[in-house]
């Protein structure tokens, strides 16, 4: 985890749990846009006693009186996680909620949770702000349980749940999405295995857009202290076929592809623009792919 501090005034101290694709983007945005300085702290997801000691060390390192924004952008789970894995992750989230509640005794504390629109709305298209989540697998049910745990939490100030759709971005981690995999494999001449079919519809959103948006809400929080659920998608679906075409144009090399004949992740998903927050702006797919390709070419991803 990372403790970040924005210089000046009574800006919140940020406790960022999870430095994956989205957590990394939030970290980058806080540092580059808001001049935050960060210190990494160990936080062992698998060893509870050690984790408690580490949480105490983190609490001790907090500057006095300053507000805290706790960001949960972590998780070991993925779309294929089973119920036991999701229960374990939800228990970790509940632990962080309790940690936030404990910190709230002597300072304001906001909680920012990254959930998953993909898990919650799998197989639902044209989702509007009134559409209710209908998870189909343990991953989605687990994410919903985590959101409900935050909704039940008392004593906290602002509670924000972000539901990003299919996130893509430059990352060095092993869990890369379709776009990053196509770009990286296209540039190196490797075969990309696709677990959907060419007609599968998804709403692809750039991790950096999410990072900037969340960082802005952390650094300049709204006055109203209430639970907000924010859908972070583009409101413009794209088929796998279109993504392949766009990557082929940007990479300018033949793409070697292998489609899974029995894809486990081929459900369509789409969101209406009217369901998105008014102050949210997403990069176009073409511009996003260009950015990933440029970073991959320059060795940054």
């Amino acid at each position: 985890m990372k403790l970040l501090q924005i210089d000046g005034g009574d800006k919140p101290v940020i406790l960022l749990f999870g430095l994956g694709l989205i957590g990394g983007a939030v970290d980058r945005a806080l540092r580059l846009r808001f001049g935050a300085r960060g210190v990494e702290f160990p936080y062992d997801w698998h060893d509870a006693p050690r984790r408690r000691a580490q949480a105490d060390a983190i609490a001790a390192a907090l500057p006095p009186r300053l507000p805290v924004a706790l960001v949960w952008a972590g998780g070991q789970s993925g779309f294929g996680s089973d119920q036991a894995q999701m229960r374990q992750e939800t228990a970790l989230v509940e632990e962080l909620i309790r940690m936030a509640q404990a910190l709230r005794r002597d300072r304001p504390v906001d909680f920012h949770m990254i959930s998953s629109a993909g898990g919650l709305f799998e197989s639902q298209t044209h989702c509007s702000s009134a559409t209710r989540p209908r998870p189909l697998r343990a991953y989605g049910a687990g994410k919903l349980a985590q959101e409900q745990a935050l909704a039940r939490a008392e004593g906290l100030d602002r509670r924000h749940v972000y539901r990003p759709s299919s996130v893509y971005g430059a990352t060095r981690s092993k869990r890369v999405g379709l776009v990053a995999a196509l770009v990286a494999n296209g540039l190196t001449g490797r075969t990309t295995r696709i677990f959907g079919n060419p007609n599968t519809l998804r709403d692809y959103v750039l991790a950096d857009d999410i990072g900037h948006y969340i960082a802005r809400r952390i650094a300049a929080p709204e006055d109203r202290a209430e639970m907000q659920v924010l859908l972070l998608a583009r409101g413009r679906p794209a088929s796998v076929f279109e993504v392949i075409e766009r990557v082929r144009e940007r990479v300018e090399r033949p793409l070697l592809l292998q489609f899974d004949p029995h894809p486990s992740n081929m459900q369509d998903m789409s969101f209406l623009p009217s369901a998105l927050p008014a102050d949210w702006q997403a990069t176009s797919l073409v511009a996003g792919i260009s950015r990933i390709a440029t970073m991959a070419r320059s060795g940054l991803a």
């Binding site: 639902q124 298209t125 044209h126 007609n199 409101g235 009217s274």
Partner: protein, 343 residues
């Protein structure tokens, strides 16, 4: 059909490019809303999920009208293009923003009546089609010269491009969602959308419906100017493999063959009946010109064919495309058992 359709039903997206149709937008939105409600009342297995209005830098107050409609109906999606790109690019943008199992493209001026969509869908699922065009039963513009010009132009283009579906081309289309989005994905600024759609499917049908260009008949103004029609023609030619290229190559090859045969014949005449040749040197000169002219035409034809293949590749002509039509079953069953629907 994706799994989603089994749960949610078949979703239909409407795409409407708008350039100067401000007066028609509210009635069109009401007509679409009426169709939505009608389908809901009839408990059809298909739903009108969204209507995407693409403001192609409209010259009237369409942009504001679209925004107002989008505020009133959450199923209307407003899109505004940064400049006027033309009808096909606007349609392509709309298709790329759609996520319906079927996509309907239609003009904004009510020439294309929304109630026809049910008939188009019926035709598509019963005849296992991927694209259904709505064609007018009679002259659209009520102006003989204009309708004759339109028909003649389509016939000429059909002959030039060897595309049997070309006379059916119309901006009122029902397209299977994956086909529509795949075609829209590969379209460049100069590609003709209907030609591209034909790269992804041959299962194309047309139905005849009553269609009148009320705007043209009332005001004498059409949504299409002469310039835009020429632009359409140019894009159609540029997106197709033109038969003339093949004809040129074949003519060149034929001229070469004739020149070789004639050379043999005249050589024999020269050897065995030299007195028959009145003018010395003319025959050999003519045959040499014919041979090399034919060779040049043939080689040029081949080069142009290569170039044409490259252009089509750049335009995104696919090597293959897979499609799943299994989702039509529920809709087909419904149409077969629904007694009181338009046929």
């Amino acid at each position: 059909m994706s799994e989603i359709s089994k749960i949610q039903g078949i979703m239909v997206s409407i795409v409407v490019p708008v350039y100067c149709g401000s007066d028609y937008l509210t009635p069109l939105a009401e007509a679409l809303d009426g169709l939505r409600r009608q389908w809901q009342q009839q408990q059809t297995p298909f739903f009108l999920a969204e209507a995407i209005f693409v403001d192609d830098a409209a010259i009237d107050d369409s942009a504001a009208r679209i925004e107002a409609l989008a505020r009133r109906h959450d199923w209307i999606v407003p899109l505004h293009l940064s400049r006027n790109f033309g009808q096909h690019p606007a349609t392509i943008v709309g298709i790329l923003h759609s996520s319906g199992d079927w996509v309907v493209t239609m003009d904004e001026d009510l020439q294309h009546r929304p109630e026809v969509i049910t008939q188009m869908l019926r035709c598509a699922v019963l005849e296992r089609a991927d694209i259904v065009y709505a064609n007018p039963v009679s002259a659209v513009h009520g102006a003989a010269i204009r309708d004759l010009t339109s028909r003649s132009f389509k016939r000429l283009m059909q002959w030039l491009t060897d595309n049997p579906n070309l006379p059916s081309f119309n901006s009122f289309r029902l397209i299977r969602g994956p086909v529509a989005r795949a075609a829209a994905s590969v379209c460049s600024h100069d590609t003709y959308l209907d030609i591209t759609l034909g790269w992804f499917t041959q299962s194309i049908r047309a139905i005849r419906v009553e269609m009148k260009d009320e705007r043209y008949m009332r005001t004498g103004r059409s949504g299409y100017s002469l310039r835009s029609l020429l632009s359409h023609a140019w894009r159609m030619i540029f997106s197709s493999q033109i038969k003339l290229l093949r004809i040129g190559a074949v003519l060149g090859l034929t001229a070469m063959a004739i020149s070789v045969l004639a050379s043999v014949y005249f050589l024999a005449v020269k050897l065995f009946y030299p007195a028959d040749i009145q003018v010395q040197g003319w025959t050999s000169l003519f045959l040499a010109m014919m041979f090399f002219g034919g060779l040049s035409a043939f080689m040029l034809g081949i080069v142009l064919q290569y170039l044409s293949s490259l252009v089509l590749k750049v335009h995104g002509k696919p090597t293959f495309f897979t499609i799943d039509r299994s989702g039509d079953n529920a809709v087909r069953q419904w149409f077969e058992t629904a007694p009181d629907l338009p046929r």
